[in-house]
Symmetry: C2
């Protein structure tokens, strides 16, 4: 039982994507150096990340692209398909539903819910948008382990509580709010506002902070 950091997992996920590109290009083998170059990290980092899970490389040669892809898919739990429930059939929900990458990596959105009666009953190629009220019963048919929350902030906690009640074990949250879930439910947040603010911070301070002691209000912008 070893603990693995979030950042290692994110990088593995990135490596997987890059390896799939390499495979498409017919590349058969890759060194940690080359992979690191594409991933924007260091060779040592790549090797450390992989070494947590086993030893996949061949010394003097590198990694066999196809094999490493298979290993990573297994590690990341992509050796199966996942049934996903999407809550929120607004613009974000629609965008997520339409994103082919999900399906390609094994995530099937097989249930869609919305509170808006105008949306309920719509068919999104094959999948009917159902009323949020019916969520528990609809999910009772089972097999749903992942929920995606794409509703306004004020509705998010309620939605999450119901997903948890329906035995969902992991949630990807797009609502810009802090959610509370039981210990054993995994929660990941995607918060665009946070990302934007991190950019505006970076632009404003150009990477470092003005020493200390807040100067006067002047939001000093600077040039390149």
């Amino acid at each position: 039982m070893k603990k693995v950091s979030e950042s290692t997992i994110s990088r593995l996920s990135l490596y997987l994507r890059l390896l799939e590109e390499l495979e498409r290009d017919g590349v058969e083998t890759v060194s940690s150096e080359r992979l690191a170059g594409r991933a924007g990290t260091t060779a040592a980092q790549v090797r450390k990340d992989l070494s947590v899970f086993g030893t996949f490389g061949k010394r003097g040669l590198g990694y066999v692209v196809t094999d490493l892809i298979a290993e990573l898919r297994t590690i990341l739990g992509l050796g199966r398909r996942w049934k996903v429930a999407l809550v929120g059939a607004g613009k974000i929900g629609a965008a997520l539903y339409g994103y082919e990458g999900f399906r390609r990596q094994g995530f099937d959105i097989e249930a869609v819910f919305d509170a808006d009666p105008a949306k309920v009953g719509q068919r999104w190629n094959g999948v009917e948008v159902r009323a949020a009220e019916g969520m528990e019963e609809a999910l009772a048919e089972g097999g749903y382990e992942i929920g995606v929350v794409a509703v306004p902030a004020r509705a998010a906690q309620t939605v999450v509580d119901r997903l948890v009640a329906a035995n969902i074990r992991a949630i990807l949250n797009f609502a810009p709010t802090k959610l509370h879930v039981p210990e054993d439910v995994k929660l990941k947040n995607v918060n665009m506002a946070v990302e934007m603010e991190s950019l505006s911070y970076a632009l404003t301070n150009d990477g470092d902070v003005p020493a200390r002691g807040r100067g006067p209000g002047g939001a000093g912008s600077s040039a390149r």
Copy 2:
């Protein structure tokens, strides 16, 4: 000139959101303890994060909500409005455009581009979707510092190169691919596939890794 970590900035951004909620609820003052509770972190962490930028609290009392909001907005560069250019008028682009939170925090999407002639010419309340070809000229009118990329992976690098050429200084990327930008351009990635995979990893391994040495794990295609 002090270096501040990404995670500190993300948390400040989160604190800001929580403080705004508190303010709406009429709360006047808050302790690091209480704020930490809502943010899902520790009181010490809250104080450390803030202390990087100055001393904003009152001993024995806590932080005055309104004042701290103002401080955080200044720190995060939200004391002004930002002109944002959005590239990609598909589902994700539409979702981002419709997200009120951007506008509320000072980010104005004032230009939208798409390569698809069918989309070009559409009006998104007030803003016309323009041809991607015209990007450089259109952005030459100036004032655009942030670009949002919401195009398919294969088109993303080209788009980014053009944004950079048009003097954009920061980019928020939604395309599931690794982008390359010059040193002085800030880049943030939002990658839903990575988040999903981190969930499937967590579900598969329930938080920790199966010791070492990959077990018989079903899905493996093995080396020759």
